[in-house]
Amino acid sequence: MTSRSDRIIKTPQVEEPTSPALAHKDLYSVPENSNVRIKQVAGTHALKEQLKQMGIFAGDLILVKRRVPFGGALLVEHHGAQLAISKVLAKQIVVEGPE
């Protein structure tokens, strides 16, 4: 019991980087067919603008459907819409999950 509640109140700084449920990573490293949640968008102002314009915000769920090997694009689903995203951009989107 105590160990469980301990885990809940752990602050992010002390969390184990190997824990798959909590590890921070970029969208590009997510395997096919997994759902992740957008944590934040790093990168340029232009990228942030473009994502926001398309209604993509931190906290939203994203499903990675397809990935092209050798540095190719990702095909993701967001709120029922499919989007193709270049590797350079996907690398700047920080996500958590899979959940």
Binding site: T44, A46, L47, E49, Q50, L51, K52, Q53, M54, G55, F57, K65, R66, R67, V68, P69, F70, G71, G72, A73, L75, H79, G80, A81, Q82, L83, A84, I85, S86, K87, V88, L89
Partner: protein
Amino acid sequence: VKIVLVGQPNCGKSTLFNSVAGYRSMTANFPGATVHYTRSRMYLNGTEAELIDLPGIYSLTTSNPAEVASRDFLLSGEVDAVINVIDASQLSRSLELTLQLIDLGLPVVVCLNMLDEARRKGFQISSGKLSTLLGCPVRETIASEGIGIFQLFQTVRQAGSGKQKRVQPRFSWHKDVEEVIQEMVSHLGENLFSLNCVSPRLCAIKLLEADEFFLNQLSEPVRRVAAEYRRKLAESHGQPAEGVIESERHALSMHLFQEVTTISRPRADFREKLDGLLTHRILGYLALTASLALFFLLVYGFGKLVEPPVLNLFDQGIASLGRKLEGFPAVFIVLKGILQGLAGGVAIVLPYLFPFLVGMAVMEDVGYLPRVAFLMDTFMHRIGLHGTAIVPAILGYGCNVPAVMATRILSSRRDRFIAAVIATFTPCSARMTVIFGLVAFYAGPLWALFIYGLNILVIALTGKILSAMMPEATPGMILEVPVFHLPKISIILRKTWLRMREFVVVAWPLLIAGSVILSVGEYLHWDDLVNRALHPFMSVLGLPSSVGTTLIFGVLRKELSLLMLFQALGTSNVTDVLTIPQIMVFTLFVTFYIPCVATIAVLLKEIGWKLTLAAIGYTLVLATAIALAARFLFSVFPLF
């Protein structure tokens, strides 16, 4: 009365427009199919109105020139009513634009389009509830089937007449944010003179979002006030002011969506399986190669079947006419010119152009292009662009003019320039008729395929060279990939006709006139002058000097270089005069040299005269180099 169609990309604005105006605005199943606005007159219960189809926008804060055109039109003060077209299957995201349009203060009618698609996804949307919440009328349509359009325009007529009384929307922003907006509005007051048509509320919100366009319209003191309020918002919310406003709008859209929609299980669909195949890491590329090969074979097969018998018919006609008019050489010369011009169009251009344009239309309407963009993104990155730039490149195979205009969907200036140059290099349908009518016909389809392959290589190299000269990184692709649509035969045919009309009404008369001029000139020996002037150049390429004039005609319209070739050589069997290597050299030169007049005109508009001149010079040098290399190679390796 001016009514505009506004909505996010690929929500069916142009389909709706066409259902009222006839097939005038090019529709296709990819975001950004419309890059400039189309107008049409229409009658709404006896009163004349103008309907304007605008390029799609995700927000009133814009990121590319196509979107800027839409925003500027919306803010021009000329608009009487707005039809906000929404893809109902993307309701939550679409509402973000709707909220901004409502703040704009113009009469808005929301058109919930693509209801069939939404139902398939399991969305049941209560349009009555949405209407109450938004405070504006909401109508349901399926524009591709023509359903609900009459009712929509009835509503628009009432809204545009200004008689309908304003209803307050039933949604609200968080109180603290709303207060800041209100205070900002009170500061705007008379400062809005340069934007007199914009509602103060929208302006205030955009200033808080630090939208550069709106900031630049206002005086320094107002900008300072805006900065002050942005700081205040940022302080109280712990994130930048634009983030506060955007999150607020996002939350509101999600909330509205959840209020009006009940979600049930989506219906399974064969299209998902098809999508899975076409975007697969291996099968996707195989399918892409297979569909391009099939496309090529269909165009070649159809043309090969139709060309010889029709050409024969005209040849016999001209021969028998010659016998009948033996005593009147002048009349015969003119008639022969006209007939040969007609023959060129009917027998040589249309048999390839028609199946090609049908194939292009099917590819566009099915929604394959965004998938190709997805698959080709890495390749495009290697040549310094990103996946979205494949859309103008592929459109270039139809015609370079819309292809250059389609570069407006790219947000970076550098990308637009490189994509525009690449688009002018893609062999358009006119050059396709030269490649098929000459090379495939005389040297075999594999050689035609070789030219297409070589062309892709040249495009890749050009992209590499240009991006090395402009090392600024490409921003990368975020492209919506819409669901597949079964194309409608009637739409495909109307679209094909709209494009073929260009050939029939512009090129054909020019072709017949040119044909007559050449025929008469030949009789009077004018062509000798031109040919003598071009003689040195032609002899370098190893071509007879009589071919020189055809290259001049080719600058007017590319297919003319083929058709005038028959005319200039005085035969419909080119191999009587030219050897196969000469045919290859000629076609290679025609494929790569100077873009046609119409393309030059659109390049001037999109990239300016300096870069256009540079592009023309580059194509000329490149075409000569390739033709010379081909001449040399074919003389060393006699492949034919």
